[in-house]
């Protein structure tokens, strides 16, 4: 099982360190904004605004209603999809920032942003899709490369690389 999961977590390392350093910028900015600003307003984390009255890992009361309005399968399981979307932003953003489980968090963030683009923002006009599209584009390099040299995935995978050498 671990062997199956290993390629999912082990980062691809680019030829020069500065290439990895350049790609850390969208990852860190995207991760920080999601976990500290956008996700945390609707998902309970220790740094959620106190006025929002969110318990740990609790999704804001209004978000399932918004999700249900998308219709189809979202109206069938609004609580599930709202929790997944909010957790992907708040917790996924933190993991992306740290470079831990980078591909998994980038995948969850990408799915959430695709839903936001097509189900919520596109019906209000193309310009409205820009925020979610921005996060989607920022998450894509991490989806392919993982954390690169600068992330916890790299540190965790390092001993194994020595074992293989």
């Amino acid at each position: 099982m671990l062997r199956l999961l290993r390629p999912l977590f082990e980062p691809l390392v680019l030829l020069h360190w500065w290439q990895d350093a350049l790609l850390i910028i969208p990852r860190v900015v995207c991760g920080y904004l999601l976990t500290a600003e956008f996700g945390v307003a609707k998902f309970g984390l220790p740094w959620s605004p106190a006025d929002n009255n969110l318990e740990l890992f609790e999704v804001a009361f209004w978000f399932p209603n918004d999700v249900a309005a998308y219709g189809g399968i979202f109206a069938l399981l609004p609580g599930f999809f709202a929790w997944m979307g909010a957790a992907s932003e708040a917790v996924g953003g933190l993991l992306l920032l740290l470079g831990l489980g980078t591909r998994v968090s980038a995948f969850l963030i990408s799915c959430t942003m695709l839903v936001a683009i097509f189900m919520q923002q596109l019906p209000q006009g193309m310009w409205n899709t820009l925020p979610a599209a921005g996060f989607l584009w920022a998450a894509l390099p991490s989806l392919v490369l993982g954390s690169g040299r600068f992330g916890l995935d790299y540190l965790l995978a390092k001993p194994r690389r020595h074992e293989n050498a």
Binding site: N53, V59, A60, G79
Partner: protein, 121 residues
């Protein structure tokens, strides 16, 4: 493996709605004193949480025929501890380019909020 994934999905979809923040109806009775303001034709309130909005006034009614005290009762379904509002007179906001009023919900269902137009509590 497929069965396990399916079971996890079903379990998760049943469990996760339980992690939704509880929300309750909270009623705020707004009492606004417009004493000293000239030519008051319409008094309103705008705010962050439904049924209020920032785009349209909810009208406050005078408490008596010649009264300068206006009143509105607003019930919001919310899980938050506070809401944010601003009053308007003749369609003009108070505290222009400044922070909104932050109304803290009381422990009960109903909170009474007394204010003077354009004066911080």
């Amino acid at each position: 493996m497929k069965t396990l994934s399916l079971l996890l999905l079903i379990f998760g979809s049943l469990l996760l709605p339980g992690c939704v923040q509880p929300a309750h109806d909270k009623t705020v009775v707004y009492l606004l004193d417009v004493r000293g303001l000239p030519d008051v034709r319409q008094v309103g309130i705008r705010g962050r949480d439904k049924p209020l909005s920032w785009g349209q006034d909810l009208q406050l009614k005078p408490t008596g025929p010649d009264s300068t005290l206006y009143r509105a009762v607003v019930t919001t379904h919310t899980g938050y501890l506070i809401t944010e509002v601003k009053f308007t007179v003749n369609g003009e906001f108070e505290f222009q380019d400044a922070d909104n009023r932050r109304i803290q919900f009381g422990p009960g269902d109903t909170t009474t909020y007394r204010a003077r137009f354009n004066v911080r509590p």
